[in-house]
Symmetry: C4
């Protein structure tokens, strides 16, 4: 079974998740620039989630490009990942509305952590699927995924001390991932 | 006529159905964990429907992968299935909001039953379409689909006695289907 | 330029239009069957539009399957068709909420008429695009499209006399189109 | 890495953006033609944004059709463009609700300007990606993109003098772009 339809379905889900988040940005009745100020945290929250979903889409793209085959287990590992990503609009809205206070920031981290674990499980499922030897060679030791999980585990309890500290750690993970996964690109070119 | 565009359109519709369900999870104004408690039944309802739609997508994927040709009748059998699936967000929201009481649980079962029948009709339409002999061989006697329909027919009246009993039966159907359709995968590999 | 991406984009837009219409079916707070009764006209309106959009998708599928090439004019003819279809959720909601009274039924007919004309323009644009001779042969005199336009032109003023009469005419058009476009299917098989 | 999945994802996002804008057209409770009058500016705003998004989709289609390869930088340049386009529904709703007054018109121009710059960056990223020599030859000096940016830069401050003047300039840019990008079409045919 080839990867075509898994990619198409995932593209669809991620595209919709990204786009419905913007529905939380409700236009104010006030037609001046002052009317937009209360929307700033909602916008910041949206921007953050957009970047995270962009990273997932980009990595998912690289990952499935290198994979040759998917079996039933991979389909469900992928649906599992999409489930956690589908919760992003909810936690984004909650965090934006409540100006990045403790619980919303912690729950946001929880969804990021669950997504990271789900991505890790998807990688394992793809590696276990026969015919994906190229992928195994391309991925190598996969440090970034493991470090991200560790950072989230540290950041979530930190949200109860200083929520902005947790948020800073989320951003630092995003920055690490924005550096594109050149490992796979390089291997395929060779 | 090949199956490509039917798959793409179905992927799109199912992806959107899954994602707009999450819009019912409205972020509470309360920024504490207590604020999330009233959302638990809505979340449970969402999780249930996500799993059901995941099963339909996964089976639809296997089914159309094995099919070689679609005719006009298959297009409409597919649109008929998507119609019932499009009602899932509505019954999911009604069931979640009303904490799994009688009528919402019964109607939810009705939509599941109609979807199962529509899926069965789609399988028949594909089998009747010329050039799908591989599919016929791959599907075999197709017990699971028939049993699911019987379980739904039993569960819906049960909702009027004990709604959680009906709900338990829905879950048991989901568990059966979570075991991937190895029949088709095996046949294609051979 | 091949038809692949025009199909993918149109599939996406039609899939979303179909699915967001269901958002108008707001779950009632009343958890009994009586709570659903006020939703019946909204549901009827949804069903009607689902069938119409299904017909457009299905015909669009057949049409672009037979076409080999699209030029810039075809892209815009297609975007023009999608524009009118994108207004379907609006008129559907207006008609459902107001129990099929005069103006909503007339405007609904106006959107159907505009969509039919836009579809006709798309067919012309595709025929004018070089390399689509198969399509020209397959389409033949194209009676149904012309008759539909005439019926809509008659039905819209009728809405101001008896709105149900106009509605009946819309349904009769839908029934005609539900008979699949065997002309194209036949030609391609030959 | 081929362009297939970037096209599919972009199609998905643009299709959803176009379609959710129509959700702002809320059906009035009044079932007469008078009830629709207050919606006219919202409709005008929607029409404008539909045309702009149609232009972006059409140009994006031509651009990626001519491109052969995308690297990690192109993926992010594309996500950057989609980010600005995802803000179109927000500014469209704000402008429509406030009858094209100063600030909404200026912000709308800001989003158009940012999208135009993001499109320009995407073109650069694609040209810098190895294997896209056909694209470089096809694009030529790329006057239109640069002139559009200049017009937006002029129009935005004008919104604070006369908002309709800024709006007129936006329309003039749209009209220029509606002339399809024949350069690429021609080159590919040759």
């Amino acid at each position: 079974m080839t990867t075509g339809r898994v990619e198409a379905f995932s593209d669809g889900v991620i595209a919709i998740i990204i786009t419905i988040m913007v529905l939380e940005l409700r236009p104010p009745h006030d037609a001046t620039i002052a009317g937009l100020r209360p929307l700033l945290p909602v916008f910041g929250s949206y921007l953050m989630s957009y970047v995270f979903l962009g990273i997932y889409w980009s990595n998912h793209h690289h990952l499935l490009h290198a994979a040759q085959h998917v079996d039933g287990r991979c389909l469900w590992a992928n649906l599992h990942l999409l489930f956690w990503l589908s919760l992003v609009p909810f936690v984004t809205a909650w965090m934006g509305e409540n100006h990045f206070t403790t619980w919303p920031v912690a729950l946001y981290g929880g969804v990021l952590l669950s997504s990271a674990i789900a991505y890790y499980i998807l990688v394992r499922a793809l590696l276990a699927s026969p015919g994906n030897e190229v992928l195994a060679a391309a991925l190598g030791p996969d440090f970034k995924a493991k470090i991200s999980i560790v950072v989230y585990v540290v950041a979530i309890p930190l949200a109860f001390v200083r929520s902005w500290l947790a948020f800073l750690l989320y951003i630092s993970v995003a920055v690490t991932w924005l550096i594109p996964d050149r490992r796979i690109e390089r291997k395929i070119v060779e």
